[in-house]
């Protein structure tokens, strides 16, 4: 995890320094909102330490970043960390229901599909999940808006007012992950159903329902948990397209605004935050293996792999 975080800091620092243009001049024109004279540029360059070697600047920047100081946004002139912290709750309000909805759809669909392998429910599920995985989220969002907001006037077109404004963005966000997780659950379930311990359980005379619930499902869900963790972390990092369409004040919208305004301190902030989120959620998933997978708990990792 440490090399990943270090690399992440290289990327974030590098992005702003690769950008064309003089950072001192950019800072002046963006933050003070006035054309800068050559003297002022020199003064700011010295003040911000931009005249020092890049390596020194990097170490300095990293030190500040570790203390939670990511500089000031060019666009809002407020600290980047404050802006990000302000947006996280809005993104979570969509990400968590969407992730749960995806699970609620995907796991039963995947299990039923595996149990009815090659029969009608399986075919329906496979067509639906393939279609779901191929749907562009921006198109789905607009279709949902057209149907439910414009034609039926059931929910607002965009914005965040009242509970019903959560419906369309949550649904849009959930569908893609649901489709992929359902396919994945199906294949791990089929694998588990073919395993020795399932045969043993059946031979012992356990009912089919008990075998599925206690033995097959439990083991089939272990790899699914990893995939779910990745998808959850992507949702938490901010859904740029969906938040933009629904004008949702979360991290995704913040990211796109930072990109269109070339607000580099903010871009550095969202890149660091996104990478950190993925790394942390992966860590939590790895640790939770000890809870759901007995093989890891006993410490025979070779068997589990």
């Amino acid at each position: 995890m440490v090399p990943t975080l270090l690399g992440l800091s290289f990327i974030a620092f590098g992005l702003a320094n690769l950008a064309p243009g003089d950072p001192a001049q950019q800072y002046l024109t963006r933050v003070l909102n006035q054309p800068a004279s050559q003297e002022e540029i020199e003064r700011v360059r010295e003040e911000l330490g931009l005249d020092r070697p890049l390596a020194v600047q990097y170490v300095d920047w990293l030190g500040d970043a570790l203390r939670g100081d990511l500089g000031v946004s060019y666009a809002t002139r407020r600290p980047v960390t404050t802006e990000i912290a302000h947006r996280v709750p809005y993104t979570l309000q969509l990400a968590i229901p969407a992730a749960l909805l995806a699970l609620v759809i995907a796991i039963p669909a995947g299990v039923v599909s595996a149990l009815y392998r090659g029969r009608l429910p399986d075919h329906v599920m496979r067509v639906a999940s393939l279609a779901g995985a191929s749907l562009p989220s921006f198109w789905l969002a607009l279709l949902l808006i057209l149907f439910f907001a414009v034609h039926l006037s059931l929910v607002p077109v965009a914005g965040r007012e009242g509970l019903d404004s959560y419906l369309l963005p949550t649904l849009t966000l959930a569908l893609g992950p649901a489709a992929v997780l359902a396919r994945f659950t199906r294949s791990t379930m089929l694998e588990a159903l073919g395993d020795d311990y399932v045969r043993t359980a059946r031979a012992k005379g356990l009912t089919a329902r008990l075998v599925v619930a206690r033995h097959a499902l439990r083991n089939a869900l272990i790899p699914v948990a990893t995939d779910f963790g990745t998808r959850l972390s992507h949702l938490v990092a901010g859904a740029v397209i969906v938040e933009t369409i629904f004008v949702w004040p979360g991290l995704g919208k913040l990211t796109l605004d930072a990109v269109t305004e070339r607000d580099f301190p903010m871009i550095q902030g969202v890149v660091l935050f996104g990478g950190l989120t993925v790394a942390l959620i992966n860590l939590v998933v790895d640790l939770s293996y000890t809870l759901i997978d007995a093989r890891v708990r006993v410490g025979t990792k070779a068997v589990a792999a």
């Binding site: 990943t4 992440l8 992005l15 191929s134 562009p136 279709l143 057209l146 740029v240 890149v271 992966n282």
Partner: protein
Amino acid sequence: MTPTEAGVLVSEAGGEARTRILRRLLRDRAAVVGLVLVVLVAAAALLAPVISPHDPNAVDVANKFAPRSSEHLLGTDHLGRDMVSRLLWGARLSVGATLVATVGIGLIGLVLGMLAGWWGGFVDGLISRVIELMQALPPLLLPLAITAVLGAGLRNVLIAIVVSSWANYARIVRGAVLAERSKPYVEAARSSGASTGRIFRRHLLPNIVGPVVVMTTLELGIILLAISGLSFLGLGVQPPAAEWGAMLSEGRTYLSRAPAMMVYPGAAIFVMVLAFNLVGDGLRDFLDPRSRRA
């Protein structure tokens, strides 16, 4: 047996394998549907200049939001431009850009994956760390950040996507090379004096081609979604150019007045991605035994 005879035998075996793969692919109905769709869109893209009924950029404001007619099969947009022509030319731009990006990603992924898998040690350690790093970033975040540095536009978006998307490719290739390199046939080739380059070309490449082909087909859909998504956000192909994502973005403005402007380009992206996924799934079933659909 002379080397030439051996070469002929090998290429004949290759030809037979190809026919066998094709025959099995044709038995998978879903894959056939996907293949037909891919061929149709490819033909539309190639023939757009010939079969387009109108100039895709010809503005005719007097005729805006025209309904479907024999003159305009799918109607016209807010500037009176013919939808069919724009969709056909859009196939050229959207699918063409997808191919360019995928080739770039494939080349970088193939080279870095092979280097890491073959040499191991420090090279592998370094490449593997970078792969882990790239995979720790949420999708679209790095392409967005790079676009911010380079500025909007198709060329910059392609660079941003290639730079951010090769990691998964390299990881798969690295794994395949690692699995192959310790096998006896590689050892035999090496001990009989074959150079590293020759081992790569004649032995490793043919043996990892299965997972790479599957990966490439599935990657096409992901890349098409990324390019059209970035264009939709206003960062990629700029209007008035006819590209599916940019068209969808224009259509969003007239959502309630002319839903067709949003429905058709979105449907085009959906069908194309679905087609790539259908073919990729079908190929995976017998080219990549490790992830065989049970």
